[in-house]
């Protein structure tokens, strides 16, 4: 089989765009939070919690939209809790994030055993009904027919517009850059930080929901570090929605390549391909590809 031909195929391209979705939702989530000055490394945890609760409620109600609704509600409630710790109680944000990650991973495992009597996954469920007409477009039907994928593409423009062209975005960013300056001009800094954290919880949850809906089940470990890669993508993308888009495409490309190689060249050590995105991330972080500068007051309680 011609590997190069496969990479150039429409099907491979479509695969990249699908894998892009959870990365971009996670990275945008982290970006909204950090732009408001709150470092949230619990993207992974929020994705786990949403993927699991989406599976659970989809099974309970027999309807994926109900599952999504409750998964998002839970995601937002958990963000409120995260906001309580980081904004109101001014707990160290990294420690709060680590706590949330460990809590979500543990709780989902515990609940799987408790509810589904299985050590690793929930039972299967019916995934989203796809968008009529759009889903029938040949080859890219499973992209153009998917609500969440379409939303994540739109988010590139929506996110950019909100952050850089609106009053809301300006004030949110002022909270992340210099909260004292914002406050001296009447900006309710803590409220905007809360907005940032809530949007973060919402978007990260959507990423988790997509992953579970894609597999028609939740299985333990299925998020597989995507929440952390999303944070790396945000840093590589220099906290800018459009740049983050390209960073996420890169990570999705390598993941798609890895899957392709597993199928087409079973003897090729795919670990090397798996390594690549992390290797690139490290290069970026040591300043190899230009300077990356976080919001000035990122991670500092106010």
């Amino acid at each position: 089989m011609d590997l190069f031909g496969s990479i150039l195929s429409v099907a491979f391209f479509a695969q990249v765009l699908r894998l892009f979705t959870p990365y971009y939702l996670g990275a945008s989530a982290a970006n909204f939070s950090e732009r408001s000055g709150v470092v949230n490394i619990a993207i992974e945890g929020f994705m786990i919690s949403a993927a699991f609760s989406f599976a659970l409620f989809s099974i309970v109600f027999g309807n994926p939209f109900a599952g999504m609704f409750f998964a998002l509600i839970i995601g937002i409630l958990l963000s409120l809790l995260f906001a309580l710790f980081t904004i109101k109680l001014k707990v160290n944000q990294i420690i709060a994030g680590v706590g949330f990650n460990l809590l979500m991973a543990g709780a989902s495992k515990f609940l799987i055993v408790l509810i589904f009597k299985s050590s690793s996954n929930t039972s299967r469920f019916e995934s989203f009904y796809q968008i009529p007409l759009l889903k029938d477009i040949p080859v890219i039907g499973n992209i153009s027919g998917d609500y969440i994928i379409l939303f994540s593409f739109a988010l590139v423009f929506i996110g950019n517009h909100i952050l850089f062209k609106t009053r809301f975005g300006l004030r949110l960013r002022s909270a992340g850059e210099n909260p004292a300056a914002g406050e001296s001009l009447g900006v309710n800094v803590r409220l905007y930080k809360l907005y940032g954290v809530l949007i973060c919880g919402f978007l990260a949850s959507l990423g988790g929901i997509w992953l579970a809906s894609n597999q028609n089940t939740y299985s333990d470990g299925m998020i597989a570090g995507r929440g952390f890669i999303a944070i790396a993508a945000m840093i590589i993308g220099k906290w800018k929605p459009v740049n983050i888009f390209f960073a996420c495409i890169m990570f999705a490309f390598f993941e798609a390549l890895e899957i392709l190689l597993q199928v087409s060249m079973p003897d090729f050590p795919t670990q090397i391909i798996q390594m690549l995105p992390y290797f690139i991330t490290i290069l970026v972080l040591i300043g190899f590809i230009g300077k990356t500068k976080p919001p000035a007051a990122d991670g500092i309680s106010y």
Binding site: H161, K165, T166, R167, G169, L170, R171, R173, S174, E177, N178, A180, A181, G182, S184, L185, G186, V187, K293, P295, A296
Partner: protein
């Protein structure tokens, strides 16, 4: 009409009376200067007016109506604007974004940039602020940053403007420009309250002056009766000054005109320094001698900081010959908060960090050293062992000066040693610098304060675009000090690149 009237304002912090029964009024459409040492209560009074502090008792009238501001936002709404000493700007934002934040003009889909720009540009033109709205604040000069702050006030229609030591961070040219701008404000009917330490500024611009000392109003005078010497006395109280810097007394005792070759401590020959393709210093030739104060002046950003980094050994990427006859050099840096100290450490800790041979020390030694500094340099601390952050600016600076002098190096670099420091502390620091010169030290004094430079320097080098355009020395300089107005005029021209 009175723009602001204070009636019996008292504000206490614990047992400390920061404002003690202060009453005076500020005429509308005037420039009113408030003078006093650090800790005299000026900033407290302004914060009470601006709603940042709640007063204990007394009344405030704005435009002859009683007011009771609960927060600065109330004050802003009543047309009062405050220019903070430390800028409240967001580095990563453009000037436009910084100005409109919190009071944005919006259209349906977001911020209306066209209308915002139109309004701001008309203000920029009207007051000749010379700003480009799309510039990022991280890329602009301190002077432009300050104008951005002014634009924030104008955009919010402030009629009463409070300026807290606005010129402390500006170069002489920028100061002149700033004064032009605030005269324009006055012409436009606005009222200006100016907090300052600099007597010559008061002389230049004030319509009326109020002096605070230890929380009380001690002196008020109108422009017609202004006497700078009297003002100096009122600010400091009954203490005598050794060097009061004013127009009447610009010559420090025993300024030297001639130096011997053998006394050379540092020598720079044909030094050129290039950074990122930009020439920061070009063909510098400069000697520093024993017992000399070598002044360096220039508009900020013309090579002063590079020169200091080079001489102190922080930057070694130069070409040319730099020879030292001394082992160590000490440095009082320009930005005391960022470069001069660890503000979370005590005076003693900051001192021992720099003293050689003190790898292990006892608490007793720490306390001993600290008390030594406190006593010798008259540093006021809330309590012994308190962290530097809790000291006032002048006291922090005195502690840093103490530390660097105590290192006993043969060369001491002072960069902006009295920036933002009150008159009494300034005078104290000037005296210490002078003493070190008399002790045979070589002193490099880099300052934006021309009066300070003229009073202390034996020779004065003028930097422009990384070049030394002139070194004033010998009789020309010493006799020039007799006619300081003319000399300052000459130096000012050289600083902006004009030929004499």
């Amino acid at each position: 009409m009175k723009a602001v009237e204070f009636k019996n304002i008292t504000k206490t912090f614990g047992n400390f009376r920061a404002n003690d029964d202060i009453s005076f009024s500020i005429e509308k459409n005037s420039i009113h200067c408030i003078l006093g040492e650090n800790g005299a209560g000026k900033s407290t009074l302004m914060k009470v007016l601006f709603g940042s502090y709640k007063k204990d008792s007394g009344e405030i009238y704005v435009n002859e109506n009683p007011v009771n501001f609960k927060s600065p936002l109330d004050a802003i709404k009543s047309g009062i604007g405050m220019l903070y000493q430390h800028f409240m700007l967001i580095e990563d934002f453009t000037i436009l974004e910084n100005v409109i934040l919190g009071s944005e003009i919006t259209a349906k889909t977001g911020i209306n940039y066209t209308e915002s720009k139109r309004r701001l540009n008309s203000l920029i033109d009207k007051y000749k602020l010379d700003l480009n709205l799309d510039d990022k604040v991280s890329d602009i000069s301190i002077g432009a940053a300050q104008k951005t702050e002014l634009l924030k006030l104008l955009y919010r229609d402030s009629e009463i403007l409070i300026f807290d030591e606005p010129t402390a961070v500006l170069s002489p040219i920028e100061v002149e420009n700033f004064f032009k701008i605030i005269r324009n404000f006055k012409e436009d009917g606005k009222t200006i309250i100016l907090i300052t330490h600099k007597l010559n500024e008061v002389k230049e611009i004030a319509d009326e002056v109020s002096v605070l000392r230890k929380g009380k109003l001690v002196y008020s005078v109108k422009r017609e009766n202004l006497d700078i010497k009297e003002l100096g006395k009122q600010i400091i109280g009954d203490l005598e000054l050794s060097i009061v810097i004013s127009d009447d007394n610009l010559q420090a005792p025993e300024a030297k005109a001639e130096f011997e070759e053998i006394d050379v401590l540092l020598s720079l020959q044909n030094i050129t320094l290039t950074e990122n393709g930009l020439t920061k210093l070009f063909n510098i030739n400069l000697d520093l001698h024993k017992g000399e104060i070598l002044g360096v002046c220039g508009v900020e950003g013309n090579g002063q900081s590079e020169l200091i980094e080079l001489i102190s050994g922080l930057n070694k990427n130069y070409t040319g010959l730099y020879s030292k006859n001394v082992r160590k050099i000490s440095l009082v840096p320009d930005d005391r908060l960022k470069k001069g100290m660890i503000k979370e450490f005590s005076i003693g800790e900051n001192l021992l960090m720099r003293l050689p041979g003190k790898n292990v020390f006892s608490k007793r030694l720490l306390k001993e050293k600290e008390q030594e500094v406190i006593a010798e340099y008259d540093v006021r601390v809330p309590e012994v062992g308190d962290i530097m952050e809790n000291l006032s600016g002048g006291n922090q600076q005195k502690a840093i000066v103490a530390r660097e002098i105590k290192l006993n190096c043969d060369v001491i670099i002072f960069s902006q040693p009295t920036r933002g420091v009150d008159i009494k502390a300034s005078s104290f620091i000037h005296q210490k610098i002078y003493n070190e010169k008399m002790n045979g030290k070589g002193i490099l004094l880099v300052s934006a304060d021309l009066d300070e430079l003229l009073a202390l320097s034996d020779r004065l080098a003028v930097l422009f675009k990384g070049k030394i355009v002139k070194i004033f020395a010998g009789d020309e300089f010493l006799s020039g000090k007799q006619n300081s107005k003319e000399l300052i005029g000459k130096i000012g021209q050289l600083m902006i690149g004009m030929e004499l």
